[in-house]
């Protein structure tokens, strides 16, 4: 099995899209234009405009933070704190992507949350049956495949909750959110080498924790 053609190494994933934060760039993206208008109105004192931004991004930010912070209540607190921080610091927005700006604030809030509650025991990820967790949307309609994906997701989520926060943050940001090494290094305040090391060790730790269910992942690569 190990010599099977499946072991050939496929090309590495496509490079993540790095949003250009230069304010001089013309804004072509309608969503970005909308965000900038809402942000400008919020800066002028419109709470409705700020809440418009919250409505646009609360799902995305909660999904991001909940992957980084295993406990859902803590994750919700971190997201709320991120929006508070964004509201307080509307004046410090320096142009570029509002989505990136909010994501960075949320990531910092998630890491602060982890640091603050480091000594408290974290609860594991909820079971998949919990309706607050949904499988990712996709075109896949094969029931068998959906079940397999769901099983994998549950196993991965449980394993992710048990590795160290530093490794989890790096893996979530790299493998799930698509940030590149340099961005993660900047976000987490560590060197590029440390980011790589955390990702490599984190994956090794995940593999160790998935020992019993590693069969779910084999035979479906590339």
């Amino acid at each position: 099995m190990l010599d099977s053609p499946r072991l050939t190494i496929p090309a590495r994933r496509a490079a993540p899209v790095v949003q250009d934060v230069r304010p001089s760039e013309p804004v072509d993206d309608p969503a970005q234009r909308r965000d900038l208008i809402l942000l400008e109105q919020a800066r002028s004192g419109s709470l409705d405009a700020f809440n418009g931004l919250v409505e646009c991004y609360q799902d995305l930010l909660f999904a991001l933070v909940a992957r980084m912070v295993p406990d859902r209540d803590q994750a919700a607190d971190a997201v709320q704190e991120a929006f508070f921080s964004a509201f307080r610091n509307l004046a410090s927005f320096r142009g570029g992507s509002v989505r990136s700006w909010l994501s960075r604030i949320a990531i910092n809030a998630a890491m602060d949350q982890q640091r603050l509650r480091k000594r408290r025991p974290s609860q594991p990820y909820p079971e998949l049956e919990d309706e607050s967790w949904q499988p990712p949307a996709g075109d896949d309609v094969d029931p068998e495949r959906i079940t397999l994906t769901a099983e994998r997701g549950r196993a991965l989520a449980t394993a992710l909750a048990t590795i160290t926060p530093d490794q989890r943050h790096a893996i979530v940001l790299f493998d799930v959110e698509g940030y590149d090494y340099a961005e993660i290094a900047e976000l987490t305040g560590v060197s590029l080498g440390t980011v790589k090391s955390r990702i490599h060790r984190g994956r090794l730790a995940l593999r160790e924790r998935l020992e019993g269910s590693i069969g779910l992942f084999r035979g479906d690569q590339g």
């Binding site: 072991l7 709470l47 929006f83 769901a150 790589k196 994956r203 090794l204 992942f217």
Partner: protein
């Protein structure tokens, strides 16, 4: 190809295999990792699993939020900056972004101006023009007039002190000048030879016979009247103040 046993695998660098699986191994590491994966079945399995896990990670379930994060008017009111927080936010904001570069530029100009003024006023160049010279000027004047009659040398010492003090207002020289102007006794004491003053040889050599008070004043006055030093000092203070205010504003805004 030679296969390695499980015993060998225990000694293998698993992080190297993980690095290879991420596509990060380069150079000798890449060669070593390729050899490991090719020769050790367990390393090959590990490599395969790590890649599979990395590919599966983006497909994990999406957590659905359980709370509405929109701000209520009460929350917004409590979060809005007031008083010093508003000021700090304004100073930290993009509207005051110019402060740091402008302040740095002004401070640089100020330092440069002060340095030029100091060099121009050094004994080697034969003039006393700077604020730094303000402290040396009284002693120099006292030294050069040590042999002159008390009244005459007292008036020239006062003139030198006055001109030096005018180029550096917040200096000890200013208070001395005031003292000399209001107290004739102090003026006479200042004119008399002082050992400490005699020891300092910072002034230009005095011709035999001694210069008149008017000569000494004429030598010093043009340099003291130069606007370079006060302007440089002003630029330095203004620049430092701008940078300081910007930094303080950012720090306060971050802490608020």
């Amino acid at each position: 190809m030679t296969r390695l046993s499980a015993t060998d695998h225990a000694t293998h660098d698993l992080e190297l295999v993980a690095s290879y699986a991420s596509g990060d191994a380069i150079g000798p590491d890449l060669d070593a990792a390729t050899a490991l994966v090719a020769r050790c079945p367990e390393c090959a399995a590990l490599h395969h699993d790590l890649r599979a896990i990395a590919l599966a990670l983006p497909t994990t379930s999406v957590p659905v939020r359980t709370r509405d994060f929109r701000l209520t008017p009460e929350q917004a009111a409590s979060l809005r900056a007031r008083g010093w927080r508003r000021l700090a936010a304004a100073l930290a904001g993009p509207g005051f972004r110019f402060a740091a570069p402008l302040g740095t530029g002004l401070a640089t100009l100020g330092i440069t101006g002060l340095l030029l003024g100091t060099l121009a006023g050094s004994p080697l160049l034969g003039a006393t023009t700077t604020a730094g010279a303000a402290g040396a000027a009284p002693n120099a004047a006292l030294d050069s007039n040590a042999g002159a009659p008390p009244e005459k040398s007292a008036s020239s010492a006062y003139a030198v002190l006055a001109s030096a003090a005018s180029s550096a207002a917040p200096s000890p020289a200013a208070s001395i000048v005031d003292q000399l102007a209001t107290n004739p006794e102090a003026t006479r004491q200042a004119a008399s030879p002082v050992p400490g003053a005699l020891a300092l040889q910072t002034a230009a050599p005095v011709p035999a016979g001694g210069p008149s008070g008017g000569d000494t004043l004429r030598d010093v006055q043009p340099a003291a009247g130069s606007p370079l030093v006060p302007l440089a000092a002003l630029a330095l203070i203004l620049g430092l103040a701008l940078v300081g205010v910007r930094l303080a504003g950012r720090r306060l805004a971050r802490g608020a």
